[in-house]
Amino acid sequence: MNASKFVKLKKELRWYPFVIVSVIALILFVYIPMFRTVQYSLYDVSIVGYGEKFCGLKNYRTLFGQSQFLKSILNTVILTLLSLITIPIGFLLAVAINSFGRTKIQSFFRIGYYLPNIITGVSVILMFQAVLQGHGGLLNTFLSAILHREITIGWISDVKYAKLGATILWIWQSSGYAMLINLASLQAIPTELYEAASVDGANSFHKITRITMPLMKDCFTFLFVTGVINGLSRFTDLYILGGNSSAGIPSGSLQTILMYIYQYSFETPNFGLSSAGSMILFALVFVFTLANVKLTGFMDVENN
């Protein structure tokens, strides 16, 4: 290394302490716990620090032999798929809002639809308990008014409707975000393409299906990947809707993998079992994300 390079490196080194703080924090609070989780998943450990016995893959065998855990995987997948409905809703909202052009009306709707996303989660959930209540709930009152008969659907207490009720809450919370991302992507499409299509005689439907949607593939992929990851790690809203319990009331229909992990971490402590559950959740998220990225070519160098 010649002298000038050494001086340059020395000059730059002064900035690295700022990075090192973050790196140390990352290692301490992310990577070490992560490796610990891998370790505990292979150990019989009820209370951390009070004796751990290596048990191989026993925790994994226990999980896959438990119908409760398998049911929680199924619940998670169903709720995740249902939550993806926010992508088309966000797209439709974005198209509608974009049609106003860059006006104050567009700003109004853009802010209005995004607002639920920045309201504190817990207060939204508590509010939605009242909205989704079977008797006297806002949604049922509205449905009763337009259908001219009394509707008493237990959106969060009836096992038949609980997943739908939880999805309504998710849509209200997340559609604004999907709208905003879609809108940004929509506005990045060159207007010349639409003008050329108009000259060629394309109608609005053709423009959306032949120009807009193909050019927004990356946006949809991004929302799909993040939507799947968020859906798979869903917890807080379902925990509160179920009476501050991880049991997934009603009938365990809202118990996700994360709630199962919580149950065996904090309610009936068995850290070995919950760590194994965490690893399975990690594997699920990893596989889903990898499959999405591969299938859509999202990370291909050419596409970017």
């Binding site: 790196v23 070490i32 490796f35 610990r36 209370i47 438990q66 409760q68 179920g242 319990s245 009603p250």
Partner: protein, 487 residues
């Protein structure tokens, strides 16, 4: 080039630190295991040293800090006190008891840190890992972390005779499962009590029950008082099942009714493997059936577990409620000026078994336990005795609308609540000596995996009529068996 060097350094540092985290795991595990061994030896040493433990053995010149951590009354009251949002009642903080302790033992400083109820078990476990924790508030259930207290109690029969009950758990940490071990001492008790709106019963022409009532009587009254009140024209409901908005506490209902029918579920052997669980007996199914029948007469809010009001007010719409915190409810009725309207009654009687004729049993409590890694166990025991029986502490509990476990508090409670204290005292006196909500023959939330969560789910389903009593029993049985089979 610079970027490559920096990336190399960062990657190297990260790998080294990550590997040191991993690499140390085996030694840390060993250390943990040795810690655990240390705990065991500490326990046995302490057990040996406890024989003949007396206050006289304490060194009043020794200066140190007693570290206290956990959830419960001390946490909710805080150092300076709290205000009840419903009644506006101001209650004092724990500085009252700290001041009193400092008068008695100026050499020992108290370091009290409250924990919230959310995830309290893991919070206490983490605190205990520090190794300098002396006392665990509400620690009786955390059997791996606490000191067995039977020898302490045996060495001080005077103290044992001054309290209503102890907290016992069946655990293989110290004994076999068939033997209850005392793991904590309650400092306050909250037995389940029924609150009857005499106005609603009068409007429907229903006779008031007496303390010898049964669950069938309760069901019958609930049935008769659900509908449109003939006098006020308002919708009324027969009963409010306890804790429908807190799934983790829904087991209360099963336990209460199971004690009444003597529906024993758990038969304890030496280990979990030697023990048997039977939720499908006729008696257990009868308990589930009663829960389902009561659910028919609950309000929609109670069934759904949303917007439930527990307060006893003038615009009440429910004939019978049952829950803990009777002192708080007494204060509510006083504040609302409806004290005469509500009848406080012990829970329906136990119909079979050893405790036949006593009220159905369920008691909430705030308990206190000694951390088994404490270096000051004798002083910790001294603090427990102080907290449970010192007149200043007993009065503080009453001022905080709690019932003390000390029998000396009886007069104070009667003075404060008048005749409404009678059902509470009846329930307290009827408590079996070694009773614990957590590990009874009717319920266990310590050794049998998903019992609490599943019981919450089936109770919710029964109240909402989405399952039958037989199915609920089968669900419980298969879930627990499945868990045990994989252990």
């Amino acid at each position: 080039m610079n970027k490559k060097i920096v990336a190399f350094i960062l990657a190297g540092t990260m790998s080294a630190m990550a590997l040191s985290g991993c690499g140390s795991s085996s030694s840390e595990t060993s250390s943990s295991q040795s810690d655990a061994a240390g705990v065991s030896s500490a326990v046995s040493e302490s057990t040996e040293s406890n024989e003949g433990t007396t206050a006289a053995a304490l060194d009043e010149n020794e200066k140190f800090t007693l570290k206290i951590y956990g959830p419960g009354l001390l946490s909710s009251q805080g150092e300076t006190g709290a205000v009840d949002m419903v009644t506006g009642l101001e209650t004092p903080g724990y500085n009252v008891i700290v001041d009193r302790w400092n008068e008695l033992h100026p050499n020992v400083t108290l370091d009290i840190e409250g924990a919230p109820w959310d995830s309290w078990q893991s919070a206490v476990q983490t605190a205990a890992l520090s190794g300098d924790l002396d006392i665990i508030l509400h620690g009786a259930t955390l059997t791996s972390l606490v000191e067995p207290l039977d020898d302490y109690l045996a060495s001080e029969p005077d103290f044992a005779s001054q309290i209503y009950t102890t907290e016992t758990r069946r655990t293989t940490d110290y004994n076999d499962l068939s033997i209850p071990t005392t793991t904590g001492i309650p400092y306050t008790l909250n037995p389940e009590i029924a609150y009857i709106d005499t106005q609603i019963l009068k409007d429907y022409g229903v006779d008031l029950p007496d303390k010898n009532w049964t669950w069938e009587d309760l069901l019958e009254i609930a049935k008769k008082t659900t509908g449109t009140d003939p006098v006020t024209g308002k919708q009324t409901y027969g009963v409010q099942i306890d804790s429908m908005d807190n799934a983790n506490n829904l087991y209360t209902n099963f336990q209460l009714i199971a004690t009444a029918y003597d529906a024993k579920v758990f038969t304890y052997g030496k280990t979990v493997e030697d023990s048997t669980v039977d939720y499908t007996s006729d008696k257990s199914v009868k308990v589930f059936q009663m829960i389902q029948d009561l659910g028919q007469y609950c309000s929609p809010e109670v069934k759904e577990g949303v917007n439930i009001s527990y307060a006893l007010t003038a615009d009440n719409d429910t004939a019978i409620r049952y829950c803990q915190n009777s002192y708080t409810h007494y204060e509510e009725t006083e504040t609302a000026g409806v004290s005469d309207r509500y009848l406080f009654l012990p829970m329906p009687v136990i119909e079979e078994g050893e405790h036949k004729g006593d009220p159905s049993i369920f008691k909430g409590c705030n308990n206190i336990a000694i951390c088994n890694t404490s270096k000051h166990k004798d002083w910790a025991w001294e603090f427990i005795k102080f907290l449970v029986t010192d007149p200043t502490c007993v009065q503080w509990f009453i001022d905080c609308t709690q019932f003390p476990n000390a029998t000396s508090g009886l007069d104070n409670v009667t003075e404060a609540m008048g005749d409404k204290a009678e059902p509470v005292i009846t329930a307290l006196k009827a408590l079996p000596d070694d009773f614990s909500n957590s590990t009874t023959e009717y319920y266990n939330n310590v050794s049998f995996g998903p019992v609490p969560a599943t019981l919450g789910v089936v109770t919710h389903d029964l109240v909402n009529d989405t399952t039958t009593a037989e199915e609920a029993a089968q669900t419980m049985q298969s879930t627990i068996e499945e868990y045990l089979n994989t252990q």
